[in-house]
């Protein structure tokens, strides 16, 4: 048995193929969103491309039946593992009434589902950090066994809410795992213009928690560190900060043109670190994924994405006056 890193982490062959499947699903949904955007069918897309390994690796280390997550806009990989479907995501892309995230009220990438314990998210960055801490505080008060997992970009770690939230979690030793997906840019501004410290994980020290920097193109590495953080959290050792080093393989969003601030050479170089290519290679080298299986997966997922796209495109929009609903709880007569 060569290269059997996943088994030493306690992951079966089937589980790692499933990880790859989620990464591929995220990628293909994302690519479809760009096509739809460029074709003028959906107004906006913000991408997970390049982050899939970190997202899926982390989500696999969580307990999908009890843990709470507070994802940020790139976290398609995380929410798919937590039970969102391609159809759900496409419904949100097309802003249709059936979108379970928001009923077509929010832009794509603003996830939420109470049933799946995905906290509803907004656009101002880092506000979700204190929310995840609050969920963990509630769990501690009620003596429940779960962790909350929150993500954000490295630029967003400059926000007060990141620092206030982590400090609160550190002081109260709460079971919170914060994962920063460091892709080196906050829109156009590179991280050396964002961070006065070398690594985001250095910031953990100020908040009395361990900080880890991990290769975010490797789902197994991310799985390992998130799993440890989860075990520590449940053992009462408190929160952890994880920095997953990723690459942003697209522009910031469909409204951004990244050629203005980074060279083609850099973009091409980063494409070499595509986590899908790297993980597929690992799976092939370990004899877990055959080319027939890979072709089958591709075909299956293309079918899922096609079906989801068609469904969402044809689904109904909310009625105009639905804009008036749900300001307050309506039974109260408001």
């Amino acid at each position: 048995m060569v290269n059997n890193r996943h088994r030493s982490l306690g992951l079966t062959d089937e589980q790692v193929v499933n990880m790859y499947r989620y990464m591929l699903l995220a990628r293909k949904i994302d690519e479809r969103m760009w096509l739809l955007n460029r074709a003028g069918k959906i107004p906006f897309v913000v991408s997970c491309q390049g982050h899939e390994a970190a997202q899926v690796g982390a989500a696999f280390a969580l307990n999908r039946d009890v843990d709470y997550i507070a994802p940020y806009y790139r976290d398609l990989g995380v929410v798919l593992v937590f039970g969102m479907t391609a159809k759900d995501i496409m419904l949100s892309g097309f802003a249709k009434a059936e979108d379970p995230n928001s009923g077509g009220r929010q832009m794509p990438g603003h996830f939420g589902s109470k049933e799946k314990r995905i906290l509803t998210g907004s656009s101002p960055v880092a506000t979700q950090v204190p929310h995840a801490v609050g969920v963990a505080l509630a769990g501690q008060i009620e003596q429940k066994e779960f962790v909350s997992f929150v993500t954000l970009g490295e630029g967003s770690t400059n926000q007060g809410d990141f620092h206030e939230g982590l400090n609160f979690a550190g002081v109260h030793k709460l079971p919170v795992i914060t994962m920063v997906e460091n892709n080196g840019y906050a829109i156009s501004v590179p991280s050396d213009q964002q961070l006065a410290c070398e690594r985001v994980s250095d910031r953990a020290q100020g908040y009395g928690m361990p900080g880890y920097t991990v290769d975010g193109t490797d789902p197994l590495a991310v799985y390992e560190v998130v799993k440890k953080a989860r075990e520590d959290a449940l053992a009462g050792k408190g929160p952890s900060l994880i920095e997953a080093m990723t690459y942003r393989l697209t522009a910031h969003s469909s409204d951004d043109d990244d050629r203005v601030y980074r060279s083609q050479a850099i973009i091409d170089e980063e494409k070499q670190k595509d986590p899908l290519i790297l993980f597929a290679k690992y799976l092939r080298d370990s004899g877990v994924l055959t080319s027939e299986h890979e072709a089958m997966l591709e075909k299956e997922i293309d079918g899922i994405v096609d079906e989801a796209t068609d469904y969402a495109e044809q689904a109904a929009f909310a009625q105009p006056e639905d804009a008036l609903k749900y300001v307050y709880e309506e039974q109260m007569g408001w």
Binding site: H131, G165, N167
Partner: protein
């Protein structure tokens, strides 16, 4: 029934709600052993322990944001902001998050948090311990803003706020804390949020106000009754969303309206009340709508001369009522 001050009524409401619902907990700066800088949480730490009466780090955005997270989970958090003036670092959490959680999730998530904050002047608090901040939040659908004017209302409204399924900002006038006392029932009762109350029936002119100014207006009304000036007084109690019907009824009742707030005049809650009356009561008015408010300066100065100049007091109210009565 016991005689309670305004602040004791608040403590009582929190205590009763914590006794009867394990989901209720309180957190904020110095709320634990100290029992709060104003002692609003006096005795609660001893009774409920550090798990439910939690000293938070000095970081208001986290106090709001952590409370919002706990509320989304299904708790009934009461977040105490030590002074309303220091709610400003938490504005993003309150407006971008709490106010929009139900709406943006299409009714999937809710945020039943109560955020309490002492506000108001006349306590030698100077610029940053005297402000009225309600207008900042009073155009944010999704929020409810409650300002009680008496101990009885403070208990009933706070209990209603804690049980409310949506976020409520609960502003407590600092001057009222120990100034106002009255009999407050021991039993459980709530006062509906969103409903104003007629505090005094009158036929000559209408005063619409809230908070401590209600107390001053009542005092003046009793005094002027002897001179046959009969003042109708409406206490808004919930200043957002406003009880439009009660405002319109009160305005039509006398046709002469005096609106009173301790906040700066321009863009205050009373500007909105004036607009409601202008939209609905034009032909019932016998005089221009009058506003008595703080001056449009950034905040209340420290020196007693200037503080007094800023504050609403019974003398100012009496003068304004006499002017309007003579119109």
């Amino acid at each position: 029934m016991a005689i309670l001050t305004y602040i004791q009524a608040i403590t009582k409401a929190i205590q009763e709600e914590m006794e009867q619902d394990e989901k209720v907990f309180i957190f904020g700066q110095d709320v634990g052993k100290k029992g709060g800088v104003f002692r609003a949480t006096d005795g609660l730490y001893e009774q409920f322990g550090k798990n439910r009466v939690i000293d938070a780090p000095l970081a208001e955005s986290a106090i709001a944001g952590v409370g919002i997270g706990a509320a989304m989970y299904g708790m009934r958090p009461i977040a105490e902001i030590q002074f309303a003036d220091f709610i400003l670092p938490a504005v993003n959490q309150i407006i971008s998050e709490a106010a929009k959680i139900r709406y943006r999730s299409n009714n999937d998530w809710q945020c039943p948090i109560t955020i309490r904050a002492p506000f108001g002047g006349g306590v030698n608090g100077a610029l940053y311990h005297s402000q009225s901040v309600e207008a900042i939040f009073a155009n944010q659908p999704g929020l409810k803003i409650v300002i009680p004017s008496s101990p009885y209302d403070a208990k009933g409204l706070l209990k209603a706020a804690i049980r409310d399924p949506d976020p409520v900002l609960f502003f407590e006038h600092k001057r009222a804390y120990r100034l106002l006392k009255e009999e407050v029932p021991d039993e459980d009762y709530t006062i509906p949020i969103g409903k104003a109350e007629v505090k005094r029936e009158g036929s000559d002119l209408t005063v619409i106000t809230y908070g401590l100014c209600v107390h001053f207006a009542m005092e003046v009304a009793e005094k002027l009754a002897v001179e046959n000036i009969d003042v109708h007084i409406l206490d808004l109690r919930t200043i957002y969303p406003l009880d439009k019907k009660a405002i319109i009824d009160a305005a039509k009742k006398t046709g002469k309206i005096l609106l009173i707030t301790e906040d700066n005049k321009e863009g205050s809650v009373m500007s909105e009340v004036a607009a409601i009356i202008a939209e609905h009561c034009l032909f019932d008015l016998d005089a221009p709508i009058q506003r008595l408010a703080g001056p449009d300066v950034p905040a209340m100065p420290y020196a007693p001369t200037m503080e007094k100049y800023f504050m609403i007091n019974p003398d100012k109210i009496e003068a304004a009522i006499r002017d309007l009565a003579e119109f």
